[in-house]
Symmetry: C2
Subunit: 202 residues, 2 copies
């Protein structure tokens, strides 16, 4: 099998990060998710906290991008735009080095000229809230309602971010090659499913 | 692997019928698509032509179903409703007999209490038109525009049918377990992908 560039977009709480990580291990390729934050921070322009606070966010909410334009010119110096530009360049450079799995950060759009396999990992709201509830660090306490609100809010932000910087709609089936619901198959099942798909990709 | 009931919804021209057929062969389970027309016709109430002309159509277009109701009472004697009721009963009976693959006909909704694996097979409009162009029988002639219009029209009818008889939206990712685009993997790749998913289903 020719090794591919795989992008994974994911609903919050669906396990998309773990799916991407295990998929990269299985295929023996590089994996980039939060690693991108540290790598960009190493460039020295911004520190990791600043990047994390401003990445995957759309600075001016509800401002749609015009088809054919990556972002309106008058917004180009906002923090999230600086991060977007830096991360885009970094993601392209890494993908040019060889096959990899990239999670989030509009990688499906940024790498569109490199024929990536674009996957979307999702799940029912109930299952995603359950997963996040089970991941609350010891000593902290959140109600189910608080977690549910966070799950919904993060996805809203991801959708806005994607729609602001690309001409695609986040989570619309037609914009992906494969969409895997983890409710019934878990992380391992999703990894095996994506691997089977990638193996047959032309 | 415990054998499952698998439903396949499909965009017209995506190859969903062939995917379902080959998947059933691979898994060694029964396959139902157009077979349902003949089986219902054998019951004797309606002939196959009448069924084919009225199945997977929504009699009164644009009339939404109320959540919790399968259809408005005053429409229950229209031809497509008679077919829907007959096919629903038949699909449930067949699924109760054992694992199978059922294509279209709202089987995902009809069998919702039997924990089916619900798949959606789709593709780009261009690829779907290409597939249908390649399937034009010898001696017949259609323009690309005519085929494109047919592809779009059939899917509109399927969407209306599904939305009329169920409380789900046809082709909305969240209503399926797995959504496979056949553009890059073809029929065989889609079959292997679904088989990998089904193998890991709890």
């Amino acid at each position: 099998m020719e090794k591919k560039i795989i992008t994974i977009s994911r609903q919050f709480g669906s396990g998309g990060h773990e799916v991407g990580m295990k998929l990269a291990q299985k295929l023996g390729v590089k994996f980039y998710d939060k690693e991108l934050v540290d790598m960009l921070a190493k460039d020295g322009k911004y520190n990791a906290d600043f990047i994390e606070a401003n990445e995957e966010k759309c600075s001016p909410p509800m401002c749609p991008v015009m088809p054919g334009f990556s972002m309106p010119v008058f917004y180009q110096d906002l923090p999230s735009d600086l991060i977007y530009k830096g991360q885009s360049k970094l993601i392209r450079t890494l993908a040019e080095r060889g096959p990899c799995v990239v999670v989030g950060r509009c990688a499906d759009y940024i790498l569109r000229n490199m024929n990536p396999v674009n996957c979307f990992v999702y799940g029912s709201l109930e299952a995603r809230v359950n997963r996040k509830m089970s991941m609350i660090p010891e000593g902290l306490s959140f109600t189910r309602e608080e977690i549910k609100k966070r799950v919904i809010d993060v996805d809203k932000k991801r959708a806005k971010y994607h729609e602001f910087y690309t001409d695609k709609r986040w989570g619309r089936m037609e914009d992906y090659d494969l969409c895997v619901n983890t409710d019934k198959v878990g992380i391992e099942g999703a990894v095996e499913t994506i691997a089977a798909y990638v193996e047959h990709c032309k």
